[in-house]
C-alpha cells in the first residue's frame, strides 16, 4: 500500500472505496513499528487505532454520515490534551499526566472522524529547536538519521515526512512548526494569532504561540485549517474567521502580487545553499507574475533577544503550576514543608526548561524588568509597527525558513546561543501575530531546505494561495527511509 499519499487523496480513496481506513491505518501502524526505532518520532502509539478505523469503515458501508477525515491517521504533538491519554510535554514532570479532557482541536478532529495514531516527540515543554531537549531522547531526521529533525515539533515533522501519518498537529511559539517542517521537508503552518483555539495546548509562551498543521502539501494544510480554525468559547483569544474555506480558490495564482525580500534574513551567517535556494524561489515567483523587491526590517536584529526575554517570562509563569501537588509523578509529600517540597519536585525539569525559567524569574523582576522585559515588549511593538508598514507595500514577505541547513545531532546542543540564532527568521511572525508558512523547496546534499512566506494578519487564505503557487514549481526527491 502506498502510504505516500496526501490527506486530500486519502479522503478521496477511502470515500470511493479504493482503500479502507482499516487497511491504511494498519499499514501506518506497521510503518511506525518498522521505522520508529530509528527515528523516534513517537512517544506513545494509540493501541486502539485499528479498531477505530474499522468502526469508521463500518459507518461508511452502512451509509451513515462520516466526518471529513474518513479515518485519516494524524499524529499529535505531545503538548495537546487527548482525553484519557498521556500528555507528557516530553517532560519527566508530566510523565504520568493523563489528560481528563480534549483540547478543542482534538474535539474538532474527533468529530471529523480523524484517528490519532500517536503522540509525537518534542523538546521538553516546546523549548528548543532540535528535539534534543526531549526528556525521552531526540527524534532523528528521516533524510539522514545523524541529523536533527528540527524542533520543537520535531516528532510531528518526522512522522509526516517518514510516512508514519498523513498529517500532524504541532505548535509554533517561535518557529516550532516551521523549523522542523523545513528540516524534514514538510509543509509547516503558523496561522494568524487567534485563528486556532489553544484550549488544551499546554502553554509555553501563550501570548505568541499557535497550533499549526504539518502536512505533505499546501492543499492539505488548507484542508486541515478548514477543520480546526474558528472562534472557541473556551479560548477568549480566538478570532472569528467567518468559517473561511481555505481550499476554495487556492489555485488562484500570484499574478501581480508584491513580495518583499527581508534583507536581514538573508544576510550574515546564511548558508550559501540556502541563499541560492532562496534566490531560486524568488525567480520562480517572479516567473509566476509576482514582483519582488528587497525590504529592510530594522527591528529584526533585536527580535531573537526580545523573543527569548518574552518567552522566558511567560514560561516562568506558565510552568509554575507544575508543583506536583495536584498531578504529576509519584513523589510523596510526607515530611516536607511546601516550599522545600516543590523545589525538590521541580527538579524533574530538564536543563533547558530550568535555564529558561531562571531567565524567566530574572528578566521581569523588580529592578530588572525595565532593562529586559519591558524593553523586549517595546521591541515587539516596534517590530509589529514595522511589519505592518511593510504589508502596506507588500502582499507577502519572503525569506528562507532557517538560514542554515540541518545540522548533526549533538553539534549545537552545548551552545545555546548559537542555537538561538537559528530562530532569527521565524520569530518575527510570532512576535507580530502574522501567519507564516514553510514550503519544502530544495535539497542540498540530501538535506532539505524550506522557504518561508509571511502575510498580514487574517490573510491566511491569500498566503496559502501564494504557497501553493510556489509549491507547484518544486520537484523533490523521495525520502530515503
Amino acid at each position: 500500500m502506498n502510504l505516500k499519499i496526501s490527506a486530500l487523496d486519502y479522503v478521496q480513496e477511502v470515500k470511493t472505496g479504493n482503500i479502507s481506513a482499516e487497511d491504511f491505518v494498519a499499514n501506518t501502524i506497521e510503518r511506525i513499528q518498522n521505522v520508529d526505532d530509528k527515528l523516534h518520532a513517537f512517544l506513545s502509539v494509540n493501541e486502539d487505532a485499528i479498531n477505530q478505523a474499522r468502526a469508521i469503515d463500518k459507518k461508511i458501508k452502512s451509509g451513515e454520515k462520516v466526518g471529513d477525515c474518513f479515518g485519516m491517521p494524524i499524529s499529535i504533538k505531545d503538548n495537546m490534551c487527548i482525553k484519557d491519554s498521556k500528555t507528557t510535554c516530553a517532560s519527566k514532570m508530566l510523565e504520568n499526566f493523563i489528560a481528563p479532557y480534549d483540547a478543542t482541536v482534538i474535539a474538532k478532529l474527533k468529530r471529523q472522524d480523524a484517528i490519532f495514531v500517536g503522540k509525537v516527540n518534542m523538546d521538553e515543554f516546546a523549548m528548543g529547536l532540535t528535539t534534543e531537549f526531549s526528556a525521552y531522547g531526540p527524534s532523528k531526521n528521516p533524510w539522514n538519521v545523524e541529523y536533527v529533525s528540527g524542533g520543537s515539533s520535531g516528532g510531528s515533522a518526522v512522522s509526516v515526512s517518514a510516512l508514519e501519518c498523513v498529517a500532524s498537529l504541532g505548535s509554533d511559539t517561535g518557529g516550532s512548526v516551521r523549523n522542523p517542517a523545513s528540516f524534514c521537508s514538510a509543509v509547516g503552518y503558523k496561522p494568524t494569532y487567534g485563528l486556532i483555539s489553544r484550549y488544551g495546548l499546554i502553554s509555553y509562551a501563550n501570548s505568541i504561540e499557535q497550533i499549526g498543521p504539518l502536512t505533505r502539501t499546501v492543499k492539505d494544510t488548507a484542508f486541515m485549517l478548514n477543520l480546526i480554525t474558528g472562534i472557541d468559547p473556551n479560548d477568549d483569544t480566538t478570532i472569528d474567521n467567518k468559517n473561511e474555506d481555505y481550499l476554495s480558490g487556492i489555485e488562484s495564482g500570484i499574478e501581480g502580487k508584491k513580495i518583499g525580500i527581508i534583507k536581514e534574513m538573508i544576510g550574515e551567517g546564511i548558508d550559501p545553499a540556502v541563499l541560492s535556494a532562496t534566490k531560486d524561489a524568488i525567480a520562480k515567483l517572479e516567473g509566476l507574475g509576482a514582483t519582488c523587491e528587497e525590504i529592510s526590517l530594522d527591528m529584526v536584529k533585536y527580535s531573537v533577544a526580545a523573543y527569548y526575554t518574552i518567552t522566558a517570562t511567560e514560561a516562568g509563569s506558565n510552568l509554575a503550576r507544575y508543583d506536583n501537588l495536584r498531578y504529576g509523578y509519584d513523589f510523596p509529600l510526607d515530611g516536607y514543608e511546601f516550599n522545600s517540597y516543590i523545589s525538590k519536585a521541580r527538579r524533574k525539569f530538564g536543563p533547558e526548561v530550568i535555564r529558561r525559567m531562571i531567565i524567566g524569574g530574572f528578566v521581569p523582576s523588580a529592578g530588572h524588568s525595565g532593562k529586559y522585559f519591558l524593553k523586549a515588549l517595546k521591541v515587539k511593538s516596534k517590530l509589529t509597527k514595522e511589519v505592518n508598514g511593510a504589508f502596506k507595500k507588500f502582499d507577502f514577505l519572503i525569506s528562507p525558513t532557517v538560514p542554515i541547513l540541518p545540522f548533526k545531532l549533538g553539534e549545537k546542543i552545548d551552545d545555546p546561543v548559537s542555537l538561538f540564532l537559528v530562530d532569527i527568521n521565524t520569530v518575527t511572525a510570532n512576535l507580530t501575530g502574522k501567519p507564516a508558512i514553510s514550503i519544502p523547496f530544495a535539497n542540498s546534499n540530501g538535506l532539505p531546505i524550506g522557504i518561508q512566506l509571511m502575510a498580514d494578519s487574517m490573510h491566511d487564505k491569500l498566503l496559502l494561495q501564494a504557497a501553493y503557487a510556489l509549491e507547484q514549481t518544486v520537484r523533490l526527491p523521495e525520502v530515503p527511509i
Binding site: G200, D235, T237, S317, P364
Partner: protein, 468 residues
C-alpha cells in the same frame, strides 16, 4: 493623628459562575473539591475565559463608589508559589501601567467626611487551606479548591479613617451599597474579608492581614490602635511590620513571613484580551443598575412625605426598602414606612431572623390599610405582627383568631362611653373648658376596651354625648 486605610475583599456571591470557568460562584454548598474543573484547577492546557457578568457587576460597584471608569480594562498575573493557588499565579488587575482596573479613584461620604477610594480591582479568590494534625510536628495542610476562582472585588481606600467608629460606619454603608446592587450578600461566611493598615502619630505603618469579617475588622482596628498607643506611651518604637489577625483570640500577631519582600513579577495576562468599557457601554450599565440608596431616600421624602430619618433607615437596608416598594400604595406609604421602622425592625434585624420570618409585603400592605381604616388599632397591630412573623397566616385570620379587631359597633361603643361619662363627672366638666381633657376620656375608653376601640369613632361619640 491616627491614619487607617482598608483593603476590602468582597466576593461577588450572587453570580452564577466563577470568574474564569463555569463552576459555581456559590461554592459553599459543595463537598470538598467537588466544585472544580480543569480551568479552576489550572490543569495543563486549560485557559481562563472571562465571566463578562463579573466585569459588569464589578463596574457597577465602581460606579456606585463614584470611581473613574477606564475605557479598557486588562488583567495581570501576580506570580507567587502557594498551595491554595492552583496555577501558582493569581489573575488580578493593576494600575501601575496606566489605569486598567475596573475602578479608578472614587469616594464615599460618611456623614460629612469624605473617604477616598484608591482603586477597585476584579480578581480570583484562591482555594482554602485546612490545617490538620494534632501537634505542630505532624501538622498537615489540606487544600479545598472549591473556592478557587471565585470572583472577588478588591476595594482599596486611602488612609482616611481616624477611628474604628468611622471604619464601622464605612463598612455599614459599603454593605448596604453591595446589597442594594444585588451583587453580593455580605452576611455570608467568608464573603467579606479585609486587610487594614494603621499608623498612629509618630509611629510606622502596620499592616494587618487576614481579617475574616467586617465585624472582626472593626475589632482588629480597635485592638491595633490600643496596642500601638500603649507602645507609644511607654516610648517603645512602633516598627513597620505585617501582623495577622488571630480571630480566635481576637488579637493581632506579628507574622514572621516576608510577604512584603516578594517580587510578584506582574505582567499582562495574554489569555484574556482587553475588555472595552467605553462611554456607550457605561451608559447602558448605568441604566441597568438598581436605584441608588440616596436616590431612594430622596424619593421617599419628596414623594411620600416620609420624615428624613425614617427614609434614611428605610432606603439603606435593601430588605426593608424591597418590602416598602412592594407594599406601599399612594394612600398608605407613610403608614407602611412607619410599621417597618417602628415595629418590624426590632423583629427581623439579623439574617437568621429574616430567613425564618413568614412576613410578606402583602401582610405589610394589609396591616397598613387596616390601621388607616381603623379596623385594627396601632396597639393591636404589634400583636398581629408577631403572630404573622411566626405563622405566616393572613391578617384577617390573625385578627379574628386573636380577637384583635376594633370595637367599631356604634351602639356598643356608645354604651361604654355613657358608662365612662357617668364615672368621670369631673373630667367631663373640665373637658367643656379644656379641650386637652377629652384625651383623658379617650384613654379611659381605650382602657376599658383593651385598646380595641376605634379612636376616631370614640372621639366623635364622646363629643356628641358631652355636647361639645
Amino acid at each position: 493623628m491616627t491614619m487607617i486605610g482598608l483593603e476590602i475583599h468582597c466576593q461577588l456571591t450572587n453570580l452564577n459562575s466563577k470568574l474564569f470557568c463555569s463552576c459555581k460562584a456559590n461554592y459553599r454548598e459543595f463537598k470538598i473539591n467537588e466544585n472544580i474543573c480543569p480551568v479552576c484547577m489550572g490543569l495543563p492546557g486549560s485557559l481562563p475565559r472571562l465571566n463578562q457578568e463579573a466585569v459588569k457587576k464589578a463596574t457597577m460597584i465602581a460606579m456606585a463608589l463614584n470611581c473613574t471608569i477606564p475605557e479598557k480594562i486588562a488583567f495581570f498575573r501576580k506570580n507567587y508559589f502557594y498551595p491554595d493557588s492552583p496555577k501558582n499565579f493569581q489573575i488580578t488587575q493593576l494600575n501601575i501601567y496606566g489605569d486598567t482596573s475596573v475602578g479608578g479613584t472614587g469616594s464615599v461620604m460618611i456623614g460629612d467626611k469624605k473617604i477616598r477610594i484608591t482603586r477597585i480591582q476584579l480578581e480570583e479568590d484562591p482555594g482554602r487551606l485546612i490545617y490538620d494534625g494534632s501537634s505542630s510536628k505532624n501538622q498537615i495542610t489540606l487544600v479545598d479548591y472549591n473556592r478557587a476562582g471565585t470572583p472577588l472585588v478588591e476595594i482599596v481606600t486611602e488612609p482616611d479613617f481616624e477611628t474604628p467608629h468611622e471604619v464601622r460606619d464605612f463598612l455599614n454603608i459599603l454593605s448596604n451599597i453591595l446589597t442594594n446592587l444585588g451583587v453580593a450578600d455580605p452576611s455570608l461566611e467568608g464573603a467579606m474579608r479585609a486587610d487594614a493598615n494603621i499608623s498612629i502619630e509618630g509611629g510606622k505603618k502596620v499592616e494587618i492581614k487576614n481579617i475574616g469579617s467586617f465585624h472582626d475588622l472593626e475589632k482588629a482596628v480597635h485592638f491595633e490602635i490600643i496596642r500601638q498607643d500603649s507602645l507609644h506611651s511607654r516610648n517603645i518604637e512602633i516598627i513597620q511590620e505585617t501582623r495577622h489577625w488571630d480571630d480566635r483570640r481576637k488579637i493581632t500577631v506579628s507574622s514572621r513571613s516576608k510577604e512584603e519582600d516578594l517580587d510578584y513579577r506582574y505582567f499582562l495576562e495574554g489569555d484574556i484580551p482587553w475588555v472595552k468599557i467605553d462611554p456607550e457601554i457605561q451608559k447602558k450599565l448605568k441604566t441597568e443598575m438598581p436605584e441608588s440608596i440616596s436616590s431612594k431616600k430622596a424619593r421617599y421624602i419628596s414623594k411620600y412625605n416620609i420624615p428624613a430619618q425614617v427614609a434614611d433607615v428605610l432606603s439603606s437596608d435593601k430588605y426593608y426598602s424591597d418590602l416598602f416598594e412592594d407594599a406601599y400604595t399612594e394612600s398608605n406609604a407613610k403608614e407602611v414606612a412607619n410599621i417597618i421602622t417602628t415595629e418590624l425592625m426590632g423583629l427581623v434585624d439579623t439574617r437568621e431572623k429574616r430567613e425564618v420570618s413568614k412576613f410578606t409585603s402583602v401582610h405589610l400592605r394589609d396591616l397598613a390599610d387596616a390601621i388607616q381604616s381603623g379596623k385594627v388599632s396601632r396597639n393591636s397591630s404589634k400583636n398581629a405582627l408577631h403572630e404573622i412573623l411566626k405563622s405566616g397566616k393572613d391578617l384577617s385570620t390573625v385578627i379574628s383568631e386573636l380577637d384583635l379587631g376594633n370595637v367599631s359597633d356604634e351602639s356598643e361603643l356608645s354604651r361604654i362611653i355613657a358608662q365612662i361619662i357617668s364615672e368621670e363627672p369631673q373630667a367631663v366638666e373640665q373637658s367643656k373648658s379644656n379641650s386637652q381633657t377629652i384625651n383623658y376620656l379617650v384613654g379611659k375608653v381605650m382602657q376599658k376596651t383593651k385598646g380595641k376601640a376605634d379612636p376616631v369613632l370614640t372621639l366623635d361619640i364622646l363629643k356628641k354625648q358631652i355636647g361639645i
